[in-house]
Amino acid sequence: MMSLPGTLAMPSANPERQWHRFSPRVLLDPSARRAVIAVAAVCIFWQLGATSRGWLGFSLPVIGAIPAPDAVAAAWVKLIHDPGYWQSWEQSFLRVALGFAAATSVGVPFGLALATNSTFRGFAFPVFELLRPIPPLAWVPAAIIFWPTQELSIDFVIFLGGFYTMVLNVLGGAETIDARLIQAARSMGASRWNIFRRLILPGVLPSIGVGMEVAIGITWEVVVAAEMISGGGSGSATSSSGGLGFFIWNSYVGGSYPNIIVGMISIGIAGYLSSAVVRRCVARLTPWLRRPR
């Protein structure tokens, strides 16, 4: 057995770095501690800035005009008992989930087809490239016209937001697969299907993962804007049924400014949560990329 110092890298169990398993010990972890400090600092700065008229005598520009954290917190506490607020969460989450699932399940096969079939690529890629620069939000009016319900048109726009990213990542990932791996497999007598299933597919998985992480962020951007533009979806545009984007818009129209901030922070949290879920799924699917820490 040759194990030269420095060349042999074995995974080592280091409990301090297992951040995903939550326990009170997490607060001892330097990165968690830094996160808490950073968020607290932002809140303090925000509180001071927003109440600047009281202690400075004049309002600081920009930050002086937004509701203070204590007002936002008070509004939030009130909203926690409002089922309409939670329905907004639910609605936006459902739309993101639907659009994201559609973007992944259409984007991955489409990207793989582009990567593995040059004829298909010749036909489809120019069309794809022509449509790609059109921002998803530019599709909103057209989508409202050609989809039977407004709900479907919002889902479609969200789908577009994730779709392009997924396709480009799958395509890029497939191109980085080492040709020697395919040659090696072929000379061992592997069939085309086996090469696809055992080499191409796992080979693009990391890129699919990156695509998913980027796409989930984009879908949150798109869902909020689409909800604002479309007025919250299918006819019954009340503050309780339009999703978080419409919740923000409606708060603005109704003049309840702290609620705007509550809506914004809610989206931040929702986006963070869904990214974390996606990242964990991706890490589970690509165990060979887990670096020994």
């Binding site: 030269l4 060349t7 074995m10 497999a185 000379s187 007598g189 060979w288 990329l289």
Partner: protein, 289 residues
């Protein structure tokens, strides 16, 4: 020899014959010849080492023999059958690791047989034998990225050997390893071949490595590639890497090969450069005078 080792030997098979091979790249009009009228024979069950300075087209020849690319002209025969594509009878171990990164050591080793539809239990004995043989039984669940450079090379040897190819083609397999690991790998591979003989075609730029391993040396010439000289390495086996150059015969072979290689290296170095070519001419004149 144990039963598994017998299973591993591939006796009397894998003769490689190249007949007037030409290979050029690029569109017909502007094609550059990389290989020009190259012929040689690598005898079955013997260890043939192809040595030449880098850039003489050794790797191109390997890709042709492996069947990844087709020669522009000429025929390649394996045991009398012309090569038309890649095949299981000859497996290539590449310069850098080409292990499948998403498979564990064990999955990499099992890949070939399982891909051809064999069952795991039918190759289990051989797989275990090989994992032990390459000293990776304790690392079967590790991914390639978790192995050291030397371990990766051994895993790759096991992955190739389980398919029991008639010909093992190794294209500078130990390049990039540190000197210690390289020496261990060489001793190790030589022992493996003595235990289970088969036809080997080994490419290298390192003369010590070449003489240590070879039954026969092919000294490759400058672009377009041809065999400049064939040297029989008639040193007794088993050989010991540390001790081999205490032998006078080994040193004589080394000097003979080096003088040939030096000339080829100078030509390769000067390739395309008028100034360098002039320098070599001047240098030769001085040496001669």
């Amino acid at each position: 020899m144990t039963a598994d080792a017998v299973q591993l030997a591939s006796l009397g098979k894998g003769e490689i014959v190249l007949r007037n091979i030409y290979k050029s790249y690029g569109p017909e009009k502007f094609a550059t010849d990389v290989i020009c009228d190259c012929s040689f024979t690598a005898e079955a069950n013997r260890f043939t080492v192809m040595i030449g300075p880098s850039g003489v087209g050794k790797s191109t020849l390997i890709r042709l023999i492996a069947g990844f690319e087709k020669p522009t002209r000429g025929t390649i025969l394996i045991d009398g059958r012309p090569v038309t594509g890649s095949g299981r009878d000859r497996l290539v171990v590449f310069q850098e690791s080409a292990l499948f990164p998403w498979m564990t050591t064990e999955q990499n080793v099992y890949y070939g047989p399982l891909a051809r539809g064999e069952t795991k239990s039918s190759v289990h004995g051989l797989a275990e034998f090989l994992l032990n043989k390459v000293g990776l039984q304790g690392f079967r669940k590790n991914y390639p990225a978790q192995l050291s450079g030397g371990m990766q090379r051994r895993a790759e040897l096991a992955r190739a050997l389980i398919n029991n190819p008639d010909v093992m083609i190794l294209d500078e397999p130990f390049r990039g390893l540190d000197a210690m690991t390289k020496k261990l790998m060489l001793d190790y591979y030589a022992r493996l071949c003595e235990d289970a003989p088969r036809t080997n075609l080994f490419v290298t730029t390192d003369i010590d490595e070449a003489i240590f391993l070879a039954d026969r040396l092919l000294v490759m010439g400058h672009v377009p590639t041809q065999v400049r000289a064939v040297i029989d390495v008639d040193l007794p086996r088993p050989r010991n890497y540390a001790a081999i150059f205490r032998d006078e015969r080994a040193n004589a072979i080394k000097i003979e090969a080096l003088s040939l290689l030096h000339e080829e290296a100078m030509k390769a170095f000067a390739g395309g450069s008028k100034a360098a070519a002039d320098f070599i001419t001047a240098y030769r004149r001085r040496v001669a005078g």
